[in-house]
């Protein structure tokens, strides 16, 4: 027991600080990817609902492919493709290779994956808005951008929250996959600590506990957001 505490202590020779550093990296990547995914998702949903047939078909291909191919494979493809593209652009501009920050790369690859799921969730949420609300806005002659900001986004938020909460949890857990490509996040830090000290159970359980805390804490936050987003709505349970 004492030995375990020593291994997990925050100052070296303990590895607690490494785990927390990994956790911070994981959360940063998850937040970035979730946000990036939301942006893709918003435009994706708009494209699927109001875009030209071409746009709709292309988006359909995007969401289908991303949702059918394992994240691990997508991560590898996007990682290599992303760095190749960046380097080619830099090369064409006569610059040297671009420094690729692990966190940025993680956000890029997971964001693209998240974007596909976001697209579907937001599309569903927009369609769930009672049509009268958008019709009223249009009747007032509201410009499209203003309508999106004032009517569509606030109204769809309540419908989108449960799906997005789930998606956020997927984002936090998917960061673990980046360990396989050697990004320093919680799972890789855990594994390095476990391999060096041979205390596999201790470290994997500790990391599991950290992930679980993130999950449970997120659950509380999202419940609050949902309550806030549903303010003023008739109290029916749906979504």
């Amino acid at each position: 027991m004492e030995q375990t505490l020593e291994l997990l202590s925050l100052s070296p020779p303990g590895w607690g600080a490494n785990l927390l550093r990994g956790l911070a990296a994981s959360i940063q990547i998850a937040l970035g990817a979730f946000g990036f995914g939301l942006i893709i998702g918003f435009f994706g949903a708009m494209g699927k609902l109001y875009g030209s047939p071409w746009v709709r078909d292309l988006l359909e291909v995007y969401t289908t492919v991303v949702r059918a191919v394992p994240e691990l494979v997508l991560i590898l493809i996007l990682y290599y493709v992303g760095t190749d593209i960046l380097n080619n652009i830099a090369g064409a501009m006569g610059r040297g290779p671009v420094e690729i920050n692990g966190i940025a790369a993680g956000i890029w690859v997971l964001g693209i994956v998240q974007g596909a799921y976001s697209t579907e969730i937001l599309r569903g949420a927009i369609r769930a808005i009672p049509p009268g609300q958008t019709e009223a806005a249009r009747a007032y002659g509201m410009p499209r951008a203003l309508m999106a900001r004032r009517v569509t986004i606030p109204a769809m938020t309540a419908f989108a929250i449960p799906g997005l909460a789930n998606l956020w949890l997927i984002a936090t857990k998917d960061t673990a996959l980046l360990a396989v490509v050697g990004f320093s996040e919680l799972t890789l830090e855990t594994r390095q600590a476990a391999q060096t000290t041979r205390a596999y159970f201790t470290f994997f359980l500790a990391a599991g506990f950290l992930y679980l805390m993130v999950t449970l804490f997120s659950g509380v936050i999202f419940a609050r957001i949902e309550k806030w987003a549903r303010r003023g709505q008739p109290s029916h349970r749906g979504g």
Partner: protein, 258 residues
């Protein structure tokens, strides 16, 4: 892919012409998975080990501004080609297969390949000893190539691990009967707490075609300026005693042979 190689070559040529290559930082890629005593992180996150020190010594000798960059072993050659790193110094043996993809510096260490088993297993490092046993090797190493060439069909299974550490762990837990790996890394392993289970039973018969000509630094094809600078650095530290000094800190024997 072809387009990319041309582009890369173009960029390299441009860098040569302007002569700006030297002033830039050189990213030295090491494997992100611990490989003691060559490279392993401490709990403060700093990478130490024989190879890390040698890399730094070479850079110092040639006044290169080097940054140690851990990259997953699995993707280390693609990372080199994708220019996330400039040179691989991750105990990578110089083999023909790899030389088709990347260029190598002169070798900076060379050690035999050995078989490690549980103590008293009676396994010998040859066909007779490994017959019907499970042999573990690390993926995309010379040992994997060797095992598949010589022990395929002899051993009951050749199990391939992403990292040496995982293979060692499974040898310790008895999931595999033997491991083929580098003698130095294994000497370090059997001297460790968990390695107490196991012993080195001897070197496998040499086969230069697959075991290669020692460990060298890997650079992108055509990156001759860096390769030659590193060669000069390797020669320099071998000559002025820096190499031996670092080696003495980690090993009791020499690990360099021509």
């Amino acid at each position: 892919m072809k387009l990319k190689t041309t582009l890369t070559a173009g960029v390299a040529a441009l860098a040569l012409m302007t002569g700006a290559a030297m002033a830039e930082t050189v990213k030295v890629g090491i494997a992100a998975e611990p490989y003691p005593p060559f490279a392993a992180p401490d709990s403060a996150g700093n990478w130490t080990g024989w190879e890390v020190e040698i890399a730094n010594a070479i850079c110092e000798a040639e006044e290169l501004d080097c940054v140690i960059t851990p990259v997953g072993w699995d993707g280390i050659i693609p990372s080199l080609m994708g220019e996330q790193i400039d040179v691989i110094m991750a105990s990578m043996s110089i083999t023909e297969e790899r030389a088709k993809q990347i260029d190598f510096t002169d070798h900076y260490y060379k050690t035999p390949a050995v078989i490690v088993t549980a103590k008293g297993s009676g396994i010998t490092p040859d066909d007779a000893g490994l017959e019907g046993k499970i042999l573990g090797v690390q993926a995309s190493t010379t040992h994997q190539a060797y095992a598949q060439k010589h022990f395929e069909g002899v051993a009951s299974e050749i199990r391939i691990y992403q990292t040496q550490d995982e293979a060692n762990q499974d040898l310790y837990s008895g999931r595999i009967d033997a491991v083929q790996a580098d003698s130095i890394a294994m000497a370090d392993f059997v001297a460790s707490d968990i390695g107490d289970c196991c012993e080195i039973v001897g070197a496998v018969a040499d086969d230069v075609a697959v075991l290669g000509q020692g460990v060298g630094g890997g650079v992108r094809k055509g990156d001759d300026a860096l390769r030659e600078t590193l060669n000069k650095g390797i020669a320099k530290i071998l000559e002025d005693g820096t190499y031996d000094e670092i080696t003495k800190k980690y090993f009791s024997t020499t690990i360099y042979s021509k």
